[in-house]
């Protein structure tokens, strides 16, 4: 399991961002209206994490919790959560690399992902791209481990159904 470096060399924040930056930005994007908001949320969350990381029992879960809380705070200041979810469902640019070679299948996956309820989508992002365990996801979201696991299973089933329907059409 990849974990942020918590020893304190000057470059460690950079290494931490190199390891987790892409998934964190995608995670922040789930709760932000625009990519710029997601970047602000990631910045605020990461800085908060970095200042207080010594108190974290599980640094990776704490990092995600900080970014989530920052994204929520930003979102609360601008729009309601439901509006954010709607906006997250219409990404202005590709969430994945490489955007220039975005395949039709990739676009379908992005679209299906955007249709998921926010609480399921964030679990998928943390599990698939963040590499968090269900225990870490549960700690991040302060939910029971079984709830985290079942949200993930529901999300995958829903994504599978969605993609299968599109493929049939």
């Amino acid at each position: 399991m990849r974990r942020p470096e918590l020893s304190d060399p000057a470059e460690s924040w950079r290494q931490c961002l190199r390891l987790h930056g892409a998934a964190l930005l995608l995670f922040a994007r789930q709760w932000s209206t625009t990519q710029a908001d997601a970047e602000d949320a990631m910045q605020n969350g990461f800085v908060k994490f970095w200042k207080t990381r010594d108190r974290a029992r599980d640094p990776l879960a704490y990092l995600y919790a900080c970014v989530r809380s920052a994204a929520m705070d930003l979102g609360r200041g601008r729009r309601r959560r439901s509006l954010n979810e709607q906006a997250a469902a219409r990404p202005e640019s590709s969430l994945f690399d490489p955007p220039l070679e975005r395949t039709e299948r990739q676009a379908l996956i992005e679209s299906a992902l955007a249709q998921l309820p926010g609480d399921q989508r964030e679990v998928v992002v943390m599990k698939i791209w963040g590499g968090l365990t269900f225990a870490q996801i549960a700690a991040t979201l302060r939910i029971p481990l079984n709830t985290a696991a079942s949200r993930y299973r529901y999300a995958l089933a829903r994504l599978g159904t969605e993609l299968a329907e599109v493929a049939r059409d």
Binding site: M42, V47, W50, K51, Q106, I109, I128, L159
Partner: protein
């Protein structure tokens, strides 16, 4: 991998989220370095607070110990009634002396 959900999982994993722009990383770096906790000033502050607390304890202890030093004052206050009693006795004795001297005459 036969389970369609596992296949989907693998397919999702193969997608790479877009990494943060270099500009964002620099921005975060600047914010992190500005906000980095500096342990030495904190330790100095803690040491200063500790010595202040110790000094306060010493002062309080000195105040607490002071009543035993001022015990003679209390004795002096306590001597007040004694001296008035002595005065009363001597007045009684004087009066008694007058009575005795009258009786003897």
């Amino acid at each position: 991998v036969t389970d369609p959900l596992e296949r989907l999982e693998l397919e999702l994993s193969s997608l790479r989220p877009r990494p943060p722009a270099a500009e964002l990383i620099e921005r975060i770096g600047a914010a992190v370095e500005n906000a980095a906790p500096s342990p030495w000033p904190d330790r100095c502050l803690a040491a200063a607070m500790l010595s202040g607390a110790l000094a306060a304890c010493v002062i309080v202890a000195m105040f607490v110990a002071q009543p035993s030093v001022s015990a003679p004052a209390q004795t002096a206050v306590a001597a007040g009634p004694q001296s008035s009693q002595i005065k009363a006795y001597s007045q009684l004795l004087t009066r008694a002396g007058d009575q005795w001297s009258g009786a003897l005459k």
